[in-house]
């Protein structure tokens, strides 16, 4: 009898512990829900003042004027442009360095390069922004004879530095996961190493590499300090690559300190946060779908 009771309490305790851990696991999902809840709580009141379409597509961002204008279209364009240009630089560098690390480099250099990529990922964004301000901006201004060196080119270059580690490390994982038999079969057919990489390894790792690119873009579009410090801050649709822009993140970070509590401006910045959140969420969900597919392919069913 006593024995049975003991077994029962022990069993009960195990179940309790299991439930407790399950709660902690759900915590991430709960936090994500809380983030959504509070962004909407502080952002939605804006739409009592102006319609969603005027917020998203309005071309004037004058939050402190009277009457204020809360059109974030120039900010969205700013975010998209610096993200696009930074990816033009970061994608080739990220993928090529991943190919070098996983396929070509000798073991010692591979270890060093992986550390370099990890350290680059760890560089605080405010330091990169600072670097862009004191080194790149004066150089750009002088070389191209511009009114300011704080512009799209500068922001894209510094953002590329932030996106390269993301793209490189995830692409490398994907290339590493390509089954060895694929490559060996290719060599056995007389293909060179180059042909094997381009025609076998990269296509086999394609969904993983796409995931890497999408996550790199998500990183660039959500990056704040770099664009706050070097994009120049002009809330207008740019006409050329040396114009200043004001991406969404920069606008939020620069103005939140001055926006009066729960004013239209304050709500508009939270609403901008919602847009930003939804864009990065979409990127992440797409990346998640792709990488799920890539895991299935990884079994090597050919």
């Amino acid at each position: 009898m006593n024995n049975l009771k003991q077994t029962l309490t022990r069993h009960l305790r195990e179940i309790m512990i299991r439930k407790l851990f399950a709660f902690f696991a759900v915590l991430s999902v709960l936090l994500l829900g809380l983030i959504v809840l509070f962004l909407f709580r502080e952002g939605l009141p804006l739409f009592k003042e102006i319609p969603v379409s005027r917020f998203l597509l309005g071309s004037a961002w004058y939050p402190t004027y009277d009457p204020p204008e809360y059109g974030i279209w120039p900010l969205i364009v700013g975010s998209l442009i610096v993200t696009m240009f930074s990816c033009l630089i970061a994608v080739p560098f990220g993928i090529l360095s991943a190919i070098y690390i996983s396929e070509i480099a000798p073991a010692r250099i591979r270890e060093i390069l992986k550390s370099v990529i990890e350290l680059l990922a760890g560089l605080p964004s405010v330091v990169l922004g600072f670097f862009g301000m004191v080194v790149l901006a004066p150089w750009l201004q002088e070389t191209f004879d511009l009114p300011t060196g704080l512009n799209i080119v500068n922001a894209s270059l510094m953002l590329a530095v932030m996106a390269i580690p993301t793209i490189s490390s995830i692409s490398e994982d994907a290339l590493y996961a390509v089954p060895r038999e694929f490559k060996e079969a290719s060599y056995a057919l007389g293909a060179t190493k180059y042909e094997t990489i381009i025609k076998v390894a990269v296509p086999a790792a394609f969904s993983g590499i796409s995931t890497a690119v999408i996550l790199g873009m998500a990183r660039a579009i959500g990056e704040t300090m770099v664009v706050l410090m070097v994009a120049g801050g002009a809330a207008a649709i740019p006409r050329g690559i040396f114009d200043s822009v004001r991406p969404m993140t920069a606008s939020i970070a620069a103005e939140m300190g001055e926006a009066p509590f729960r004013s239209g401006h304050y709500h508009a910045l939270f609403a901008t946060g919602i847009v930003l959140f939804l864009i990065t969420l979409a990127f992440n969900l797409i990346a998640d779908q792709l990488s799920a597919k890539f895991k299935k392919e990884g079994c090597g069913t050919l």
């Binding site: 696991a25 760890g122 060179t192 704040t224």
Partner: protein, 284 residues
């Protein structure tokens, strides 16, 4: 035939060049900041508060503030992250529930840092009435690094051989005891590495603490967790962009940037070395 090898050589050259350029970019930036910042970093710079409306003096309050924020963040995120990872690796079975949790963790990892700042402002500062304080900032940073910790802890737990668990369970030890006495201690070095990387990440972040904790300038050190603090990353931003003395305070900006990257990259490098040693030592 020749063309095939020429093309391969060309491609390999490009690939090597890109790896080299990335390495040079990192080293160049470090060297530049070191060269320009080292003269500013004196003993007084590290131990004195700013003076003359932040145009002279040191950065001691910012160092202390960053320390409080990161220690607070890791103290919250580490237990939560490890518990979450234990469930994911030890208890969970494949299914819709676990799929949702994984998507949740991935999406949390992808939330932009400034959005964490907004959330911290809306939730901790305004809704829970913590005000702009160490508490609000540390909790916001804790959520930011939670996915990093979960990922590292999961990897460490997965690396513990299945035979360890089986041997323990075969002796009649309960599942929880197996986890707490066998699995977690074996995974501890890996979990610690993840925690250290999380500290490095939290120390360098600016956007999440801008509206939740960081102060432009405080004369005294914080007395409680409800006080605002100065922080290294925010201090760099303030000195480099605000005020009328931007050119005059350049040396201070370089010095602060050097201290920050020294701290963050030092922490990261320590974690990387620790991890490679742990991996090498493992012989199971």
């Amino acid at each position: 035939m020749k063309w095939r090898y020429f093309r391969q050589g060309l491609f390999f050259g490009m690939v090597r060049l890109s790896a080299l350029m990335i390495t040079l970019a990192l080293l160049g930036m470090i060297a530049f900041l070191f060269y320009n910042g080292i003269r500013a970093v004196t003993w007084g710079f590290l131990t004195l508060p700013p003076t003359d409306s932040m145009t002279k003096g040191g950065i001691m309050p910012a160092i202390v503030g960053t320390l409080y924020l990161t220690v607070g963040a890791i103290a919250v995120a580490l237990p939560l992250g490890v518990a979450s990872a234990v469930y994911l690796t030890e208890y969970a079975r494949q299914g819709i529930f676990i799929r949702i949790v994984r998507i949740g963790v991935n999406c949390l990892a992808g939330v932009p840092s400034v959005v964490f700042g907004l959330f911290g402002l809306g939730f901790f500062v305004v809704f829970l009435k913590f005000g702009s304080s160490i508490l609000s900032g540390a909790l916001t940073l804790a959520i930011l690094i939670l996915p990093t910790i979960i990922g590292a802890a999961e990897e460490a737990l997965k690396a513990v051989p299945q035979t360890f668990r089986e041997a323990s369970l075969a002796l009649g030890v309960s599942k929880w005891r197996t986890i707490s006495r066998i699995v977690l201690p074996s995974a501890l070095p890996g979990i610690l590495t993840g925690a250290i990387l999380g500290v490095g990440r939290a120390a360098g972040e600016t956007a999440p603490i801008m509206f939740t904790a960081a102060a432009f300038f405080t004369a005294a050190l914080p007395k409680s967790i409800f006080d605002e603090v100065m922080a290294l990353p925010y201090h760099i931003y303030v000195l480099a962009t605000a005020g009328t003395h931007i050119e005059q305070t350049r040396p201070l900006q370089y010095g602060t940037a050097l201290v920050l990257i020294g701290l963050v990259l030092g922490i990261d490098l320590f974690a990387i070395i620790l991890r490679s040693r742990v991996r090498r030592k493992k012989r199971w």
